[in-house]
C-alpha cells in the first residue's frame, strides 16, 4: 500500500500535514446481498491551521468520509494518517486513546446530547473518559470551555439539553468536542439544522475557536456559500468521488468541473436580479449508488459528456496552482 502512487494533490512529506486520507473507500452491505460503495478512492490532506471544506449533495458520501476518518466504523479500504500515525496500525486500545486528537461536531444539536444528562456532565465526559485530570481541574476546564463558546457556565451547568435552544445545544456540542484540545475538528453539517439568524453565530464561533485553539478543520456541508466562506480549500464530491479540489477563492472565479459549475449556478443569491430564466438548471437526478454510471459518474447529467466519459473514469489531475479536477473536458477559465 505505501508503494501505490499517491494522488498528485497530496502534499506528502510536508511535516505540517495534520490529516492525510489516502484511497479511502467505504462499502456497505445491504440486506438482500447488495453492496453500495458510498465512498470510492477519496484522498486529501489537511495542513495545520487549515480548513478543508467538503461539499456535495445527498448521497455523495461526505458524511461517510467524516465517519470513516474517525474510524466509526473504520473504512473498508484506504488509510487515514493522523499526525504521521496510520490509524489502521493502532491496536483497539491505542485507537481509543488517540481519539482525543480528532473530534467531531454533528448536525442535529439536540440529538447529539444525551437528554438525561446535564450540560456540565456532558462537556466533562471526554475528560472523565481520558482520566487524566482530577475533579477540580475538570470543572475548571469545562467552565473555561463553556465561556469560550459563549455560554454562561452558571446558567447552563445543571440544565438538560431540552431546556436549551438549538443554537445553545450546538455550542455545548462544540465545547464538548474542544475540551480535549484536539488537533482536528470534523464538523458534519453543523449549521444545517439551525435557524438562519443562529447559523451566523455558530459559524463565527467556529472561526473564533479555530484561531484560539489552533485547530485544523474538515467542514462538511451541502450549502456551498457556507462552506466556501469558512474554508481555505474546497473539495467537491459527487456520488462517492472527489470531482474538484482547489483553494476556496478559486471556485467563484474558475469552476472547472461541470458539476461544480452547476452547483454554483444553482445556489440562490439574495441580490436583486431579473426573474430566473427557465432551463439553466442541471437536468436529471443523482443516479443510484447501487448502480453508478460507467466511466465518469457525472456523465448522465453532464452537458459536456462525450464517448470518452463513458469509457474511462477520470482521475484528479492538476489544472493550475493547487487546483485539481477529475474531468476529461474541464471548463476552461474565462479571463
Amino acid at each position: 500500500m505505501p508503494d501505490a502512487a499517491l494522488p498528485a494533490h497530496l502534499r506528502d512529506g510536508d511535516a505540517d500535514v495534520v490529516l492525510s486520507v489516502r484511497h479511502l473507500s467505504r462499502t456497505f452491505d445491504l440486506p438482500g446481498g447488495q453492496r453500495v460503495q458510498a465512498v470510492a478512492d477519496v484522498s486529501f490532506d489537511i495542513a495545520a491551521g487549515e480548513t478543508l471544506g467538503l461539499v456535495g449533495e445527498s448521497g455523495c458520501g461526505k458524511t461517510t468520509v467524516g465517519r470513516a476518518i474517525m474510524h466509526l466504523p473504520p473504512p473498508s479500504s484506504g488509510e487515514v494518517v493522523v499526525e504521521g500515525t496510520p490509524l489502521s496500525q493502532l491496536t483497539a486500545e491505542s485507537l481509543r486513546l488517540s481519539r482525543s486528537r480528532l473530534q467531531m461536531v454533528f448536525q442535529d444539536p439536540i440529538s447529539s446530547l444525551n437528554p438525561m444528562r446535564t450540560i456540565g456532565e456532558i462537556v466533562a465526559a471526554p475528560l472523565v473518559v481520558a482520566g487524566r485530570h482530577d475533579r477540580a481541574a475538570r470543572e475548571d476546564m469545562v467552565r473555561e470551555m463553556l465561556e469560550a463558546v459563549g455560554l454562561d457556565p452558571a446558567a447552563v451547568w445543571h440544565r438538560r439539553p431540552h431546556e436549551l435552544s438549538g443554537g445553545q445545544c450546538q455550542r455545548v456540542s462544540i465545547a464538548r468536542a474542544l475540551v480535549l484540545r484536539p488537533r482536528l475538528l470534523i464538523c458534519d453539517e453543523p449549521v444545517s439544522s439551525l435557524d438562519v439568524s443562529v447559523q451566523a453565530q455558530i459559524l463565527n464561533l467556529l472561526e473564533d475557536a479555530k484561531q484560539r485553539f489552533g485547530l485544523s478543520m474538515l467542514f462538511i456541508a451541502h450549502d456551498l456559500a457556507v462552506v466556501k466562506n469558512v474554508s481555505d480549500r474546497l473539495a467537491v464530491m459527487y456520488l462517492g468521488r472527489i470531482c474538484e479540489i482547489a483553494p476556496s477563492d478559486r471556485f467563484h472565479v474558475h469552476a472547472a468541473h461541470p458539476y461544480t459549475a452547476a452547483l454554483l449556478a444553482a445556489v440562490p443569491e439574495a441580490t436583486p436580479q431579473p426573474k430566473r430564466r427557465i432551463g439553466r438548471a442541471l437536468k436529471g437526478e443523482i443516479p443510484s449508488p447501487l448502480d453508478p454510471p460507467s466511466g465518469c459518474r457525472f456523465r448522465t447529467r453532464c452537458p459536456l459528456a462525450a464517448e470518452r466519459c463513458a469509457a474511462e473514469e477520470p482521475s484528479l489531475r492538476p489544472l493550475g496552482e493547487d487546483h485539481y479536477v477529475a474531468c476529461h473536458f474541464p471548463i476552461a477559465r474565462t479571463s
Binding site: S197, N204, P268, R280, A281, L282
Partner: protein, 330 residues
C-alpha cells in the same frame, strides 16, 4: 395606473393557538394582497408564523388548536373565514392549492402516486376513472417526470425527494387552481434539485397564469422568483415591497440583518458574518413594543414600549419600524 383587483385580499388576519406552553399569537394582524398571476414571496425564520398563516388561509388549522381567529380573507370577493366547511372544501385544491415541505409525509405512503392525483380529479372535477387516469399521466409528464405511465404506478417511497415534490405539484395543479401556496417547497431538497423545482413552479405559473405564494426562510429563493416580498417576524409582516427594491435597500433592520447574516459565494473567504444576537422569539409572551427590539442594534426605549406603526414609502413599499434604515444606508 389603476392597481389590478386583488385575487386574494387578507386584512388583519389573526390566528391564536393553544399550546401546552400557553397562548401563542402565531399570526397577529397580517394584511396582504395577491394579484392574479403574481408571485408573492413570504420570508421568515422558523416560528415566525408563516406556516400557520398559510394554513389559516385554507382553514387547515384544527379547531382544537385555534383559540381565536380574526380578520378577513377575501378570495374573489368572498370571505373564506365565513364559509361553511363544505363550501371551503370546494375551494381547497380546486381554487387554492397548497404544497408542503416534506413530500414524504405529505403523500399517502400506501397509495400509488397516480391514484393520488386521480383522487383530486375525481373529487373536484368529477372525472371518470379512465379520464382521471389519462389526465394523471399527462400531469406527471408535464411536471417533468420521465416515463409517466410507469411512474404513476410507483409508491412514494420508490421515488426520490425531487420526484415526490413533482408529484405533489402535479396533485396541486390537477384542478388548475388560481392560487398555489408553496410552503417551503424546496427546503428539504438538494440545491440542484431545488433549482429544477423552482424552474418548474415558474414555468407552470406562467403557463397557467396562476398566482403563487412562495413561503421560505431563504431570501435567495425569492430573489429570482417573486414580484413582491413580505418579510414576517413574530407573527407580523415587518416589511413588504417589490423584490429588487427590498433586497437592494431594506428599510427594516431585521431584513437588513437577515441579508447580512447569510454568507454569499462572492464574499471573500473567512469574511465575518454579521450574526443577529439572541434568538427567535417565543410567541407565548410577546414583548410589549416592537417584537424585534430585544435583538435590534438600533432599538431604544420607544421601540421597547410602543409597537411601531406601519409606514408607507409609496409604490407598495411598507415597513413597520420606529427607526428604519434610510434608503441610502443599506
Amino acid at each position: 395606473m389603476t392597481a389590478p383587483v386583488p385575487l386574494l385580499s387578507i386584512r388583519d388576519l389573526r390566528s391564536y393557538l393553544r399550546t401546552p406552553q400557553g397562548l401563542v399569537r402565531a399570526v397577529d394582524g397580517v394584511s396582504l394582497d395577491l394579484a392574479p398571476g403574481q408571485t408573492l414571496g413570504l420570508v421568515g425564520e422558523s416560528g415566525c408564523g408563516k406556516s400557520v398563516l398559510a394554513r389559516s388561509i385554507l382553514g387547515l388549522v384544527p379547531d382544537s388548536l385555534m383559540v381565536k381567529a380574526g380578520g378577513e380573507i377575501r378570495f374573489e370577493g368572498r370571505d373564506l373565514r365565513h364559509l361553511q366547511e363544505h363550501e371551503m372544501r370546494s375551494v381547497r385544491g380546486r381554487q387554492i392549492a397548497m404544497i408542503f415541505q416534506d413530500p414524504m409525509t405529505s403523500l399517502n405512503p400506501v397509495k400509488r402516486v397516480g391514484g393520488q392525483i386521480e383522487q383530486a380529479l375525481r373529487l373536484h372535477l368529477r372525472f371518470t376513472a379512465r379520464q382521471a387516469r389519462e389526465r394523471a399521466v399527462e400531469l406527471l409528464g408535464s411536471v417533468g417526470i420521465p416515463s409517466p405511465r410507469q411512474r404513476a404506478e410507483n409508491y412514494p417511497h420508490e421515488m426520490s425527494g425531487g420526484m415526490r415534490q413533482r408529484v405533489m405539484i402535479a396533485i396541486a395543479l390537477a384542478c388548475d387552481p388560481k392560487v398555489l401556496i408553496a410552503d417551503e417547497p424546496t427546503t428539504a431538497l438538494d440545491v440542484t434539485v431545488q433549482a429544477q423545482i423552482l424552474d418548474l413552479l415558474q414555468e407552470q405559473q406562467e403557463k397557467r397564469g396562476m398566482a403563487l405564494i412562495l413561503i421560505t426562510h431563504n431570501l435567495g429563493v425569492v430573489a429570482g422568483m417573486a414580484d413582491e416580498v413580505a418579510v414576517m417576524y413574530a407573527g407580523r409582516i415587518v416589511e413588504h415591497g417589490a423584490t429588487g427594491d427590498l433586497l437592494a435597500a431594506p428599510r427594516m433592520p431585521y431584513t437588513a440583518a437577515l441579508l447580512r447574516s447569510v454568507p454569499r459565494i462572492a464574499d471573500p473567504v473567512h469574511s465575518r458574518l454579521e450574526a443577529i444576537g439572541g434568538r427567535p422569539p417565543i410567541l407565548v409572551d410577546p414583548p410589549a413594543g416592537c417584537r424585534f427590539a430585544p435583538r435590534c442594534t438600533r432599538a431604544d426605549e420607544v421601540c421597547r414600549r410602543e409597537p411601531p406603526e406601519k409606514r408607507d414609502a409609496g409604490t407598495g413599499r411598507r415597513f413597520v419600524c420606529w427607526h428604519p434604515l434610510e434608503a441610502a444606508d443599506a
